[in-house]
């Protein structure tokens, strides 16, 4: 690794203010962060109420909503941070992955700001943001293992050193959050139903045991589509027998299966790679069952665990600033021709 000398840019010393924008899905978010870690504001405007009526995120409507709120959220973020636009030293934005039309609004707004203020622009990877949300609440010790669980992503990422990402496992079909939402629909919860499944599973007295999808013995990959089908066929089976399906026992069975596999693989990765820390991140990190199990497994294994508070787990711009700080400190800026990318490699985004 040629990490021996660090680019000594003007930016590597002293206080600096980063304004970050995140519009990769259905949240319009702007944050102002000092020195990459101190969150002065983190405004999140959720469109969830709008998309609820469609049973999921409608990309065209998400893009329309971002345009409606972008400058308003920018203004609110500055006001709450009590800073002036002229005080901003750099602008960061989620470049991808995400919904292309939604990403575009944030990318264009960020490029416009970088031009107007004549400051550097930093295109940022959304998943690096989720991982580095942990840097807003504590120190990251390397090597560490990040378990990324969200509506669009399920990944185990190895960080051998700061800003170097290596994906060692990923989902081969549905993301965890996606599986939760689909199962929630089968259990007749309104969108987004993931948190409802979590609650029902916690309260359940019984469990219908469902299969665990471990895949190949040494694989860190995931597959959740079979589990989702198992839930659906269990519902069908009860109905054919004229019984009403036990939704809470099913929710518990589904949740237990997901948690067993996800935490089991994460812990195995931590042991194999000698991780000094486990980082849980992404929207599904809000899941209580998952938090509790991973906490106890990490304690048993003697691996310290960081979990950001819920507001930093779901999509937000402060986490984008936290990841962009990696690039700022190394003077690695993007050009004004930055392109929004619906698919973007995390490993290639490494510093």
């Amino acid at each position: 690794m040629s990490e021996t000398f660090q680019a000594v840019s003007a930016s590597s010393e002293g206080d600096y203010l980063l304004l970050a924008i995140e519009t990769s899905c259905d949240e319009t978010s702007v944050a102002v962060v000092r020195n990459g870690r101190e969150v002065l504001s983190n405004i999140i405007s959720s469109q969830i109420e709008t998309h609820k009526q469609f049973g999921g995120v409608v990309p065209e409507i998400a893009s329309r909503k971002h345009v409606e709120s972008i400058t308003l959220i920018l203004e609110e973020a500055l006001r709450e941070a009590k800073v002036e636009l002229e005080d901003i030293d750099a602008v960061a934005v989620t470049q991808g992955p995400g919904l292309i039309g939604a990403l575009l609004v944030g990318v264009i707004a960020a490029k416009s700001l970088a031009l107007a203020l004549d400051v550097p622009l930093i295109g940022t990877h959304h998943i690096a943001g989720h991982i580095y949300a942990n840097h807003l609440i504590g120190d990251i010790v390397y090597p560490s293992i990040a378990l990324v669980v969200s509506g669009g992503h399920t990944e185990i990422v190895l960080l051998e050193e700061e800003g170097k990402f290596r994906i060692i496992g990923r989902t081969r079909d549905d993301a965890v959050g996606e599986a939760y939402d689909k199962v929630a629909r089968a259990l007749q919860f309104p969108y987004p139903g993931g948190p409802c499944v979590d609650r029902l599973a916690q309260e359940a007295a019984e469990e219908i045991v469902l299969p665990r999808s471990w895949l190949e013995q040494d694989s860190y990959d995931f597959s959740f589509s079979g589990l989702k089908s198992a839930v659906l066929s269990e519902i069908n089976r009860s109905r054919m027998k004229g019984e009403s399906p036990d939704f809470s026992a099913l929710a518990r069975g589904f949740q237990q299966s997901v948690i067993d596999v996800v935490t089991g693989k994460a812990i195995r990765a931590a042991k194999e790679f000698g991780a000094k820390q486990m980082l849980l991140c992404g929207g599904v990190a809000a899941n209580r069952g998952l938090r509790e199990r991973l906490s106890s497994l990490c304690e048993e294994a003697g691996v310290p665990l960081l979990i950001p508070p819920n507001k930093l787990c779901t999509d937000n711009a402060a986490m984008i600033a936290a990841a962009a700080d990696l690039k700022w400190r190394r003077g690695q800026y993007s050009s004004l021709d930055l392109k929004a990318e619906p698919i973007l490699s995390l490993e290639e985004w490494s510093v």
């Binding site: 009526q53 469609f54 409608v58 065209e60 409507i61 893009s63 329309r64 345009v67 409606e68 972008i70 400058t71 308003l72 920018l74 203004e75 636009l85 039309g101 575009l104 609004v105 990318v107 264009i108 707004a109 490029k111 416009s112 700001l113 970088a114 031009l115 107007a116 203020l117 050009s335 004004l336 021709d337 930055l338 392109k339 929004a340």
Partner: protein
């Protein structure tokens, strides 16, 4: 709240104008109704990549900074949804960051005015005291067009006859032809803009011998700037935060939901 920088409306006015509603990305600097400089490029479906560096280059080669501008003007659509959002987002953010007034104009009106300007330059159809109808077209697929109708004359009249909308070209062209054939005030009818995909429908509509003329032309931000300057001098300003593209129609999912709620 920031106070908008408002100069005397009698003095010189410099506007940065942009439009990305069509296949063309176009930006212009317009001062007192005259084009100072402009750019046009056809980076199909990729306006988002170059838009800000092109604007930066345009400003710097004319020795301008944000503070030298009186307003930021933008084509509000209709047109490609993603396309329109690019210029609108850029214009909103630049106007907000520079603390300058934002002025939106109809992209169709700008397309029509640009065409009318070039017809006048070419001295086409200058019948004194009679009107020319200018009908801008942007393809909206499945036989539809984003379109409007303006009435202009050599004395400088410029009126909107029909506002922006999405219409079926076959019905629209024959309706215009029909109305023109009973209106002796109309000297000429020009379909302008993205006319190529609709040539056949326009020819089809020439029923009673009223000639429907066609001028294929591209969007030009100079016309966006000219229309915006007119609004600016009238004291009109758009609200930066509330400003959104004119899509002319609901998103498909919204339309379906609305239809379902009506029991259709």
């Amino acid at each position: 709240m920031k106070s908008i920088d408002n100069r005397s409306e009698d003095s010189s006015v410099t506007v940065l104008a942009i439009d990305t509603s069509t296949a063309a990305f176009t930006a212009a600097i317009v001062r007192d109704g005259i084009r100072v400089d402009s750019i046009i490029s056809f980076t199909e479906r990729n306006h988002s990549v170059r838009v800000l560096s092109e604007i930066k280059e345009l400003l710097s080669r004319n020795g301008l900074k944000g503070k030298d501008l009186d307003a930021v003007a933008v084509g509000q659509g209709p047109g490609s949804y993603t396309g329109v959002r690019i210029a609108v987002t850029a214009a909103k953010t630049l106007a907000w960051a520079w603390n300058k007034p934002l002025i939106g104009v109809s992209s169709l009106k700008a397309l029509a005015l640009g065409a009318w300007n070039s017809l006048r330059e070419a001295n086409e159809n200058m019948v004194p005291d009679r009107d020319t109808w200018i009908v801008p077209l942007m393809d909206a697929r499945r036989g539809q067009v984003y379109t409007a109708r303006y009435s202009a004359d050599a004395a400088g009249k410029w009126e909107t006859v029909d506002g922006d909308g999405i219409r079926l070209i076959a019905d629209w062209a024959s309706r215009i032809e029909g109305e023109a054939s009973t209106d002796s005030q109309v000297a000429a009818i020009w379909f302008v803009g993205e006319t190529a995909p609709h040539q056949a429908a326009i020819e089809q509509a020439e029923q009673s011998g009223t000639r429907l003329r066609v001028l294929a032309c591209d969007m030009n931000a100079t016309a966006v700037g000219q229309l915006a300057e007119h609004r600016f001098r009238q004291g009109e300003r758009d609200d930066v935060h509330g400003f959104v593209p004119n899509y002319t129609q609901l998103a498909e999912a919204e339309a379906k939901l609305l239809a379902a709620s009506r029991g259709e």
